[in-house]
Point group: D2
Chain length 301, copies 4
Amino acid sequence: MPVTPEQQTEIDALRAAPRLTLRAVSEGMEAHLYSAIPVLDHGFVRVIDYMGDDAAICQAARVSYGRGTKSVQNDEGLIRYLMRHWHSTPFEMCEVKLHVKLPVFVARQWIRHRTANVNEYSARYSILDREFYIPDAAQLAAQSVVNNQGRGEALTNDEAARVLRWLKEDAGRAYDHYEAMISQDGQQGLARELARMNLPANIYTQWYWKVDLHNLFHFLRLRADAHAQYEIRVYAEAICKVVAAWVPAAYGAFEDYRLGGATLSAKALAVLRRRLAGEAVTQETSGMSKGEWRELEEVLG
Amino acid sequence: MPVTPEQQTEIDALRAAPRLTLRAVSEGMEAHLYSAIPVLDHGFVRVIDYMGDDAAICQAARVSYGRGTKSVQNDEGLIRYLMRHWHSTPFEMCEVKLHVKLPVFVARQWIRHRTANVNEYSARYSILDREFYIPDAAQLAAQSVVNNQGRGEALTNDEAARVLRWLKEDAGRAYDHYEAMISQDGQQGLARELARMNLPANIYTQWYWKVDLHNLFHFLRLRADAHAQYEIRVYAEAICKVVAAWVPAAYGAFEDYRLGGATLSAKALAVLRRRLAGEAVTQETSGMSKGEWRELEEVLG
Amino acid sequence: MPVTPEQQTEIDALRAAPRLTLRAVSEGMEAHLYSAIPVLDHGFVRVIDYMGDDAAICQAARVSYGRGTKSVQNDEGLIRYLMRHWHSTPFEMCEVKLHVKLPVFVARQWIRHRTANVNEYSARYSILDREFYIPDAAQLAAQSVVNNQGRGEALTNDEAARVLRWLKEDAGRAYDHYEAMISQDGQQGLARELARMNLPANIYTQWYWKVDLHNLFHFLRLRADAHAQYEIRVYAEAICKVVAAWVPAAYGAFEDYRLGGATLSAKALAVLRRRLAGEAVTQETSGMSKGEWRELEEVLG
Amino acid sequence: MPVTPEQQTEIDALRAAPRLTLRAVSEGMEAHLYSAIPVLDHGFVRVIDYMGDDAAICQAARVSYGRGTKSVQNDEGLIRYLMRHWHSTPFEMCEVKLHVKLPVFVARQWIRHRTANVNEYSARYSILDREFYIPDAAQLAAQSVVNNQGRGEALTNDEAARVLRWLKEDAGRAYDHYEAMISQDGQQGLARELARMNLPANIYTQWYWKVDLHNLFHFLRLRADAHAQYEIRVYAEAICKVVAAWVPAAYGAFEDYRLGGATLSAKALAVLRRRLAGEAVTQETSGMSKGEWRELEEVLG
């Protein structure tokens, strides 16, 4: 259960107390505030606060570009123009603060995105809860044979069952010992900052994560991508829904230009020009490596 | 006049349209939103948006430190604890977006603080207005004789009058030529991105500047300091007033620990211990250089 | 003259004193160290120090990806793979420190790239030299009629001559008054931090600028682009030459995937697929705006 | 054993091949290059590359402050001045790249310092080694009773022995299962990106970590502090030794002004002034909280 009844009561109370503000308000985001979107077996994403909306992006662009931007007739067109030409600073003018509950091994991938503010639950100060990510059997896949990272075929039933049994047993035993080590019942009790080292990487942690929209889009492009690990991709997809509600025009441009777009090399563009001129180009005559050629084929469907 | 009648009408309209939100609201900040605080002769600072309040700082800290932080009985005590022990991430959870109009030479100092988001008015796209910072005669001071940077005594009347005449005449002529160069009246008209190079550093520019509270405090500590150049210090002081209204507990801690505090070296602490033990210590017996000694004397009043 | 005889003597002395090191050495970069590459009329770019080479990029990638990366047969192939898949951290493992002399209006564009370290000559402490950027007549162009920023046709001789006369006269007079204001000959002398405000944006400043290779590539992609202002593009082009000598494989990948490449939107990719399948697609049937369509046509030549 | 014989052979080869360079060379750092400084039971810190030295800090400062800085007679005095007045940019002009092998729970603390470049060993691509941090019995301490984080008394022998037995057994079993899950011997073999979730936080990882000297000092001030967790403090102390060899003047200033110094609040300074004037001040008459008063007492010895 991602959210306890006490937490739900707190969320309900926060959602029941609207106040007046003079700031920009995004109705789509107000509908999300504080509520937990469940992710994986015990995780969630919650919006705690936000700043700005589609209009704020345009307003910032118009400070920069002044009269020039007024010729673009509407906000959506301007936002698409900014996204297309990599004008990133107007998107930086929006900010969001999320509360995320996630397995430690996902948190370790996530934190590589450094341009964000983070407050994580401290296992030096506090006791971690007995909550571990145990994958659905359907998610248990073999190592990919075509990709040094990533997953291939689903495991057979027997192998999957053995994996799940080990994951559950090892996590349970590690937590039993964690509890026993820190217990002050009849013993001194090991310091929490030491005892935590016994806990596996599928234990859940949580944090507040605050980021501007430009850097969030960068995160989403990498983590909502089909090549991202499933366990972080589901968080990215949950955030995508939130962002689509928050800044629909910016999210639409992001989908078109980033998520659904592709960057082609000079070599790939040269191949395209030849093909559009009617020439039949093969990998051998393309000047591209086999890997690049295969990736280009995928992009061109 | 920092704000035009049209801008004031727009500000009044924005301030007349409160909306409902579920987010944290700072009443002190709502009172400031959109209004222009005049700075220098044509400049201003305006709050465009903000995220978070004193409670949000504590909430983020409690995510990190969990049960431990509940022993601190109130928010103000917790905020002082966080500030004292350099726990910066909870302060990063608040964000503010300002609209600032300022002379270019002030903007050049300001932008050295890199951990912020900026959208500046573009002189490639748009035409700059004829507005220049001309100091009050009282601000015209000689080069300091004790400090390689900074100001000393006020200039005498004649010298000050000559300075003001040159500043006004040169700025006016430079702008006349700027206008004449870009004019498309009977000529092609020089590109704006070139013509701007004729304009002096006291011309006004403007930008949106968005920063988190931790980095804003860092900016304010350096720029609201008595050693900062007067022309940026007055902006920092205007922002201090805004921050005091926004997050009064955090601002109070900032005043005590940063603005009014001092960092003493190991050598200075050793001197203090000796003095508190009754020993008369001189610069010669302190192990400190003359400069360090003088600065310590200033701190100890 | 970008470099004084004294500076040249100093450069020659530095270049005459090789020392032994155990660090990675790039012969291409050693050939550049300290020497000034002239840019514009008084500017330059000089390499002061560097860290890493092509091999260092691969070494960092192999720490991350371990055995997996060994299947890529050579360093160049690995570097191209990293660039193609936006693995930016190995490129961050190289660093360069440049000494740049540049007009203030160019410095103002440059500094918007915030992920770098900067030490700029301080006009509060020191007296600026009488050096101004005066464009070649061939560079004096009219405002573009198709682009709100940017240049169009060259100015006619008469108009160009008038522009040059104003730029020279105004700069000269502003500097005369700057000198007269700070002079302590028979008067107090205005503080340098105030007097500088009279100087126009084409005066030269200088700084040390230190940046990692990933962020440098980002800077070069934007500033070596045909849409960048000529006066910053020539600096970017000078730096491109330095980088090509420093990390030839990485620079080659950058040229192919970034400088010469293009990002296509989902809509543009759909159009391409239809055209490759033999369909004649027009702007009207493409689902793209006129601006997007025109830009796609340019990319596809 | 932190370094394998193969690694040591590689290190010896790297150290046997000096090359000529025109760059600044720090003899103290050359003596450290590539060699592994052992930390904890299997960890290490190695210098892979560096840029700059004490003279480079001064050179950068002199670019900024020009003639003004020449009045400071020597480099050490200038460096102390810069450190004392928080002029951080000259220190940013030095850079170091370290190879660190460390337990995952230490890596999680470390990575919170975001202003650095990181390439970590990827457990998606590669198989982690069977190496776990098992503390010395002497390091096994109870939870502190005065501090919500941190350690108190050493555990008694029996309790310590039980802790060590659990840590070893749980790590061993988790790794056995990790190996068994990814094995492709007679089964499909679970993807590495999933299997790793079974591994505890005391397993070793490794990374390249590149940082400028200013941000490194910030890291060291927090992590070489007596309040930092022992397991990260030993890494910070190893790095302190490296930095002292690299930039002795800067490290000396850092020791005096940061490591050995203290920041006093306005209230604390007021108390000091009263005490120096001969007044007996108590916590009750100080205006300070009990916590603040106790901390001030500690600073004043």
